[in-house]
Structure formats: C-alpha cells, structure tokens
Symmetry: C2
Subunit: 431 residues, 2 copies
C-alpha cells in the first residue's frame, strides 16, 4: 500500500488478439487501485507493423525486434504474447529476465519446454516470471495452485484445457457431423487455427498440464514426459456410441502423483454425462483440483479470448505492483527437478473398445474370449445394427485394468478374422 | 524470496474443530517453502481449557483471555477462530489490529458487520486483515476476487454459500422427509448446530455474500442491507413440485450491481435441474462470478470442515510471509462506502407460486384472473390430485415481473375464498 500510484511501464511484444485486448484494457483502465499503482504500455513489437488492427499503436514506441524491446530502458515489465517455444519469444524472454526485468507471458509452450531454465534465470537476476494467462485464460488457475492452495498437498489436477478441442467435440455431437467437417467450419470461423495441429493434436493441452502439474507438485515442467493423444481420431460414431452408454467424449488433461513419479497425460476419455466435465461444453475450460486437506475443488471458465486473457495479464501486473512474488514453480529453482513419468504400461484404467466386425455367427464369443485371455472383465456390451457397409459396430467397456492388459486384449481382438478394422480404444475417465 | 526461513509465531484463539485442524496442520507441515517461511503456534486461547480435544495444547502458552493473547509479544500473527460478531472475538481482533498485529480470521459475522471499521484500524496501524477461511472454506474465493480478478469489473457473484442448508435441502429431496426431520438428524450427526438459526435462517450465507459483494464491488460490507430469507419455510411438497417442473430448490446468495446501488440477497430459489448450482449437492459450496471481461467463472468446493478451513488459514499465513498485502476490501479504507441496497420492490424475477385450494369448480379461473389483474403472465401451471386433507395443490410459475407486481398478485390470490393457506412464493433463479 505504500507504493503510492507507482506507474509500471509495459513493453508489449505480440499484438494479436490478446495483445490488442491488453491495449484496450490498459487504455480503459490504467489504474490498479487495489494494487496501488497504474500501468501503461510504452513500447510494442510485432511481426508486422502495418497489419490492420482494431487498436492504434501510434502512441507507443515501435520495436522491430522484440529482443530490443525486452532490453529497452523505456519499459519496466516485458509482456510476451508472441507464442512458440523457440525463436523470438524465447530470445526476448531470456533477454528481459537476463537483465532483471520481470516478464509476464501467456506462452505455455515456452514454459512447458524451458520453464526450469527460465525460472533459474529469473531467480538469479531477481526478476519475476508470471504466467496466469498461459492456462485457462482469465480463470485464475495458476494463482489458485501457486497461492490459494499452498496450504495443501495437491494430489491431482484434471480437466479440460483446450477450448478448440472442446468446441469441436461439442459441435460434432450437437450437429452430428464428422471431425473433418466441424474442424473446417471452426477454421473458417476463426475458432481453430489454419494449422490446427497444436490444438487438435493435444499439444497445447499438454503444455498446460505440464505447467499445472509442475505447480501442483512443486517440480520443473517436463513436457517431454507428457503422454499426448489428440482428438483427430475421434469419429462421430464413437461420440454416438459413447452417448448411448451414458458418456461424453472429452479431451482430458490430467496429472497425478504415483509415489515419487507422476502420470501426466492428455487424451480423449469418456466422461459420464452428468459429470461436471461432461457438462462443460463449447470453448469452456474446466479443472478439478484434489488435495489432501481441501478435498475436491472445481473451477470452470472461458479458456481463451481477448478479454479473459488480457484480464489474466492484468492480474499479473497487479501482483508485480504489490511485490507478491513467489518462486515460479513453488520451490527455488535449484530445488526443482523434472516430474519423472510413471510407466504408462502400469497405468490402470477402464476402457471403451469399439470394433467393426463382419456380420457372422460366433464373433461375440470370440471377442469375449479374447478379453478373458487378457484377464479383462467386461462392464457393458452394446451391439448396433448392421451398417450400410455391411459391418456391425460392437462396443464394450471394461472394468479397470492395466494398460498392458488392455493392449494385450486389443491385440487378441485385432487378430480375429471377423474384426475388419483396428479396434478403437478410448479411456474411461476416473475423475 | 529473500525472507530466508522467517518463522511466524501464531497466537490461536478458538480451538474448536477448525482450530484443532490448524494445530494438526502446522504440526505436520510448519514449512511454507513457496512463501519462504515457517509457522508455529506459540500461544492459544479458548473458552474451556479442559474440554476434550483431539490435539494436545500442552506445548503452547495458555491464555484465558483472547485479548491478552492478541496483545502478547509472544506471537506475531493473531488467528481468530472464536466466531460471533461481538464479544471476545471482536475485542481480540480490535486489540491485535490496534497494536499493529496482523489478523487472520474465519469470522464472517464480525467482518460483515464491522468490516469497514476493522479495515480502517488495520490500515492505520499497518496490520493485515485476511479472511480466506470466512467464505467457502478451503476454496479460495476471496483470493480470486481480491487478486485473481483484479483486472476485471465484476458485475455479479451468485451461488451456494451455506453447506448446512444445502445438505438439508439435498437430504429432504433424497430421503423424501420433512424439513424438521432432516434438521433433527443433521443436528444429531453434527452437520447442524444445536441452535441452527444462523445457518437455516440464511444469516451465515448473508454474512458471506456481504463479504463477497464488498470484494467484488470495492465497497464496505453492509450486512444490514442484505435481504435474508432462510430455508425453514421450505416444505417437502415444494421440493417435489419444483422437481416436477424441472427445478431444484437451493438457498442462493447473490450480489449484483444496479447502477450505483447493489442488490444483495440470500433466499431460496428454484434452479433448473441441469444447472451447475442444482448439481452441487450435500455440503458443497458453489459460486458464479461474472465480469465484464472474464465472462462467467464457476468455482465449487467443500464449504467447511477442519481440513479445508485450516488450509485456507494456511494460505493466508503464506500471504503474510510474502508481504502480499492489499487493501482489505479492494480500496483504501477511507474510500470505502457501504453498498447501498437497491429497492427490493423493483427487483425483477420470475416466481413459483404454490397454493392449497379447496376442491371446487372455478378456482383456476379465479387464480388466473388474479394474476392477470396484477399484470403477471403465467409460464407453467400444474395441478396435483386432491390430498388426504381434501385440498388440492396448485403450482404455477410466472414470467419475469417486479416484486411489487408479484406481491400484488399474491395478495389477490390470498383473498380468494377457495385459497385456504397463504400462497407460498419462491423465486426462480436467473443465474
């Protein structure tokens, strides 16, 4: 409170949708009364100066090179909204931290891949490195894990962290269209990128769960240790069959401790229809946090968008004003070790298996026999009528078993003559 | 980070369920690594020293008088878990703040009634006053409003803030028993207090929404301006009829701006069955936060209990260690004015009206005529079969209208000969 109306000068690198949101935000509301300061943008950098934008950049010093902006004495805080784990974003963040300038970033790819080194650099120079906007947009999940639940031992975080995937899966179900059709529409409407790999491949959610896992367990983010499966193999048929069984397919990001190791993954999973994660449709993000003392906390909000994400950057600016800086990933950087992945083969899960079989006698007996040989118990079984391809969809859900046993069973089934496509398996979420 | 392992000495007043939770907590985990310090309890005070407890108080200095504990130099931070808006809790908190000692409290009644004076006192002496544990237990709603959403203009907070009421309403529906039966059981099992007025009368939720409204809108809490209706008039019949109409009855606490004024209320309301607030059963608390930029955020977690509440106190201890102290209610105390209540008569809402009528012709025509005279449009209408009392329950829901118009219509209806009980009205939530 003693820092009477200190003005923080912001250098903004990256003036896309979120960057423009921040410009509008600080123009409308430069005063951060609760934090006792104000913030103004003084310099900007972007790839293309002349690109049409909804805000004017005329009042700000222009930098062709974000590294020059990061090194400039004309700003006190460097806000990085360029994106990407390498290249200009990384160089500029390193430059700012290297000279002791605090950095606010929405760049999950950068932090998921280089978070520990950047944390060490920030600590060495006394700079802060804040990233509320990197996960769940304006929904303060990072602050919740870093500060709000500091009194607890968090045991698991699990939820929906990619709005594009959630929108596509929701839209496939609502409009009964194929993945390819819905994706094409989403791209046309700007909900999905021209190159959608980062989103639909699960990598964006993987970056985010690497960060949340690091915060939850006080470890270095370890994106290389995250199991990543995207949604591009999800067919409308599976969405329909899952619904017939009382489930909805969601892209679930999850991190939990397994002794000293951690299981960190992103993969499609079946969620019971009445479950809050199944109810989170469209571009919503949603997260369960489980702790030894707090029990289960559920948090849901818009995961992206100019307004929410700019608000998250603003919350970080306010934290800088109050000087409330903690270690980037809960521990001093020298104590950070990467989360070591638990053996995926030992992971235990129930699973949905969908087969396309030829319409002939004895198939069901052969399939159930194959499951029994791998030690898998069936929980439910559903056979649909013959399709116009002459094939019959069979779907079954199993009891909980190891991924190894599931793989063995699926191998047996795939080897059956009557099974004409590789079986499709999707986990059943245990959240 | 520079405050290498500073030890914070805690004076703990009130050693009930939550206090014992805190003792266990700090014994198990005195180190707050992310905040760079440790915390130990040095002195305690409680009404009855010899009362059987699950933790030993032998290692702590004993104070008969919490004010003496608050004034003692043997502790640096005063944790108030006594409760009550007056008496020893208030005296002790004032004593601690008066001498510049920071206070952490779970006491919503105290803050809802005297928050502005206490904030002014804290500001004058340079002490901090933190109260994460006062609302939603271990779910960090206070931090979210105070810090996480500081970058936004919050327009509404609304949710379920009293676990006891939520448990009773859920249990009435599940077990099909009367309010009185369920309350008696809840008291026997310790879910409800021997004197349950604070909970079932809506006052506890009223205290909490007064605090959340103050944080959301940067104002002094104004409990006197909160409209409070409890759940003691809710009958099983209404729960059943509401469900037949597709709703669940919840005790909804809500605060929203009406121009420069604010509508702050606690009252039972019908919530659509599929709505997240309808899905929050048992002792869960749940909260929607709406902001101009962030859209809608939803937060849910256990609202009480020793573990979660002690974790919330611990999060406040960590914030004290990092020195991350902001104004108690978002603005310097001199700028705080109480939220001025909007005229309740102008509030607009849809409403559920339940009548018990004599089984005779012409009743429905008379009821619909009475509504029409007050300008109310009917949304749905349901007549149940004659009960063994010879009476017929009629339930209808209206379109949105002013509370004034609703009151007028209910007056007309109550005056009808065939209507043998005062009509029961319950709002339909618009969340």
């Amino acid at each position: 409170m003693e820092s009477s109306r200190r003005t923080v000068r912001i250098g903004l690198a990256g003036v896309g949708v979120v960057g423009q949101g921040l410009v509008r935000f600080l123009e409308a509301q430069p005063d951060f009364a609760p934090a006792g300061g104000r913030a103004v943008i003084t310099g900007v950098s972007a790839k293309d100066r002349s690109r049409p934008r909804q805000v004017s950049l005329d009042g700000f010093a222009w930098f062709d090179d974000p590294v020059a902006l990061a090194l400039s004495d004309d700003n006190d805080v460097f806000v990085e909204l360029i994106g990407g784990s390498e290249g200009p974003a990384r160089l500029a963040v390193e430059a700012a931290l290297g000279r002791g300038k605090s950095v606010i970033t929405a760049n999950k790819a950068l932090l998921a891949n280089h978070g520990a080194e950047l944390a060490a650099l920030a600590e060495r120079t006394g700079a802060a490195l804040l990233f509320e906007a990197a996960v769940m947009g304006g929904t303060p999940a990072v602050k919740m894990l870093r500060e709000g639940l500091v009194g607890d031992a968090v045991t698991r975080v699990a939820g929906i962290l990619n709005g594009t995937c959630n929108f596509i899966l929701s839209d496939m179900e609502t409009t009964e269209r194929s993945f390819a059709d819905v994706l094409a529409d989403a791209q046309a409407e700007g909900f999905a990128e021209a190159d959608p790999t980062t989103d639909i491949g699960g990598f964006d959610a993987g970056h985010k769960i690497a960060l949340l896992g690091a915060l939850a367990f006080g470890a270095a983010p370890n994106f290389a240790g995250v199991e990543v499966v995207g949604i591009d193999q999800i067919e409308l048929l599976d969405i329909r069959l899952a619904r017939d069984l009382g489930f909805r397919i969601k892209l679930i990001a999850e991190a939990y401790k397994v002794g000293d190791l951690a299981s960190v993954s992103v993969a499609p999973a079946l969620v019971p229809l009445a479950h809050p994660l199944a109810q989170a449709g469209g571009v919503l993000n949603a997260l369960f946090i489980e702790g030894q003392r707090i029990g289960r906390i559920f948090l849901q909000g818009p995961g992206a968008g100019a307004g929410p994400t700019a608000a998250a950057v603003a919350a970080d600016i306010a934290d800088l004003m109050t000087g409330a800086v903690r270690p980037v990933f809960q521990r001093p950087a020298r104590d950070l070790t990467p989360l070591q992945p638990a053996d995926p083969a030992l992971r235990r899960t129930a699973v949905y298996i969908r087969l396309m079989v030829a319409d002939r006698p004895g198939v069901i007996a052969a399939v159930t026999d194959a499951l029994a040989r791998a030690g898998l118990s069936i929980d439910s079984f559903l056979q649909r009528s013959v399709q116009n391809t002459g094939l019959v969809p069979i779907v079954l859900t199993t009891q909980v078993a190891s991924e190894d046993a599931i793989r063995e069973a699926v191998g047996h089934i795939a080897a059956l003559d009557a099974v004409v496509e590789p079986p499709r398996t999707i986990r059943i979420a245990n959240i």
